[in-house]
């Protein structure tokens, strides 16, 4: 195979993967109404609630600790430079804007991608290799509706919620730094934050987190559905889910940040 053929083959593979993701996203969207508590299928909402607990509630301690640490690190790094210009109070702006626009959605996506994206892939991959997915098909049950849709709805709902929590914990860490370094009180810190954050920042952050959630659940589930072979294939799928979702999250982040940057009016 010559170089051109090799490149062409890889491009086709990647396009096919993106096509598969798009089709699965459509399948997930179509199946989602069957999960809602009103007008949905029996038992689906209960499954979705259980998934929300796993994806959201169980991930909260990790998200909280990571956000606190990242917020404190950001505050220290910014403080070290801003102190030289006598502008220590701008640490609060840096942390508040940095978290709502960028760090909150990104940190949350990495935590959920690492925890739940890999878990989705491993769970569905195991169902594939033990013929459970085949069993669903032979029962005339759509695996997208039975397996994908509750995970889809749960992730779409919980990731933005976790992102808001991550923003809060990040800013709390920023206040911790400011309290230690300049005895800034919490009400004063909150007032500074409220002045520095625009509603648009919160909105774009939550919008990003929705996109990241879609990537995590789609990549995780697709890697699971594409599992072929035995237990080793399940492990490979889980690894692949984390690597691919992290890569796609960064790509989507660049894309959306560029759009928000270009459309921002001063």
């Amino acid at each position: 195979m010559n170089l051109v053929e090799s490149i062409g083959s890889r491009v086709i593979d990647h396009l096919s993967y993106v096509g598969g993701l798009t089709m699965q996203l459509w399948a997930g969207l179509r199946a989602s109404p069957r999960v809602w508590p009103i007008g949905g299928k029996r038992g689906r909402w209960r499954t979705a609630i259980s998934q929300m607990a796993t994806v959201g509630v169980d991930a909260l301690p990790t998200v909280a600790v990571m956000s606190l640490c990242a917020g404190f690190i950001l505050a220290m790094q910014a403080g070290a430079e801003l102190r030289r210009f006598g502008a220590l109070q701008y640490v609060m702006d840096t942390v508040a804007i940095g978290f709502t626009r960028e760090l909150g959605p990104l940190l949350t996506a990495f935590v959920v991608g690492g925890r739940s994206g890999s878990a989705f892939s491993a769970e569905i991959g195991t169902m594939v290799v033990t013929s459970e997915i085949d069993a669903l098909r032979t029962m005339a049950v759509d695996p997208n509706e039975f397996v994908l849709a509750p995970k889809f709805v749960a992730t779409i709902i919980t990731v933005p919620c976790l992102t808001v929590m991550s923003n809060a914990f990040g800013m709390l860490a920023g206040w911790g730094f400011m309290f230690i370094s300049s005895k800034t009180t919490l009400p004063m810190f909150l007032r500074y934050c409220a002045e520095s954050i625009e509603l648009r920042d919160v909105f774009t952050g939550v919008l990003k987190s929705l996109v990241f959630a879609t990537i995590i659940v789609n990549v995780g589930c697709m890697e699971g559905f594409r599992t072929r072979g035995g237990p080793d294939a399940v492990g490979r799928s889980a690894t692949s889910a984390v690597v691919k979702s992290t890569f796609l999250i960064i790509l989507a982040d660049v894309f959306f940040t560029a759009i928000f940057y270009l459309t921002k009016k001063d």
């Binding site: 013929s131 069993a135 669903l136 032979t138 005339a140």
Partner: protein
Amino acid sequence: MADPIISVKDLTVVYGSHSVLDGVNLDIERGEVMVLLGGSGSGKTTMLRHIIGLERPTSGTVRVRGIDVNACSAEELKTIRRTMGVAFQESALFNSMTLEENVQVPLFELTKLADPIIEIMTYMKLAAVGLGESAKLSPRELSGGMKKRAAVARAIAVDPEILVFDEPSAGLDPIVAAGLDELILFLKRAFQISMLVVTHELSSAFRIADRIAMLYQGSLIAVDSKESFQASKNARIRQFLDRVPDSIGHSAVVQNHFRELAGLTGAKT
């Protein structure tokens, strides 16, 4: 004579350059137990997966109740699948659910029955396979034989017209395997279900079969009543029935490989 409930015509399956099924024809009549025999790698499971519509053939047709499973609409395929129960070789029970919940999946998904009715039906199906007292157990807590019976309970949950078994006795001790044979016969008597049983267990095949079909290297070499099958003079069938091993050392491929290993180039085929 009534139309066969399952009709396979010229079924050909080729993966790459490897032919797995080569123009297979098979009719399964209503109410009969058809056993599909064959050695490992003969194409039994591939044929079963095509009959239940999990894979598309290279060519040929599979008709279930007169409908071509590869050329029908999604709704028609759903209707066919609702009339067909499948018990997989590895049981394929949902490990995250209890036995009771496993049986309830098709009832909740495919029917609009009220919850108390579903609970009664679940218990009836589990009791029919002798697992009435194990409803709350998870698949991890079951023995191999219990898992197989649980898979049967789930397969018969919505009263199918056709039951398909993939290697029901594989990995079971003779007593448990015999119990499963009796269960298959009981289901046939009680519910008048047409059955396709894929197996390589001879004793099981002769106990449950009305007719036996045998696959050899992707082709059907016999479709007969069990009495005629047992009396067959076909060399391959006799080898299978008399448990005569293949002489693997005489295989042309093996001979060639030995020659290559010995450095004898220009090996003859």
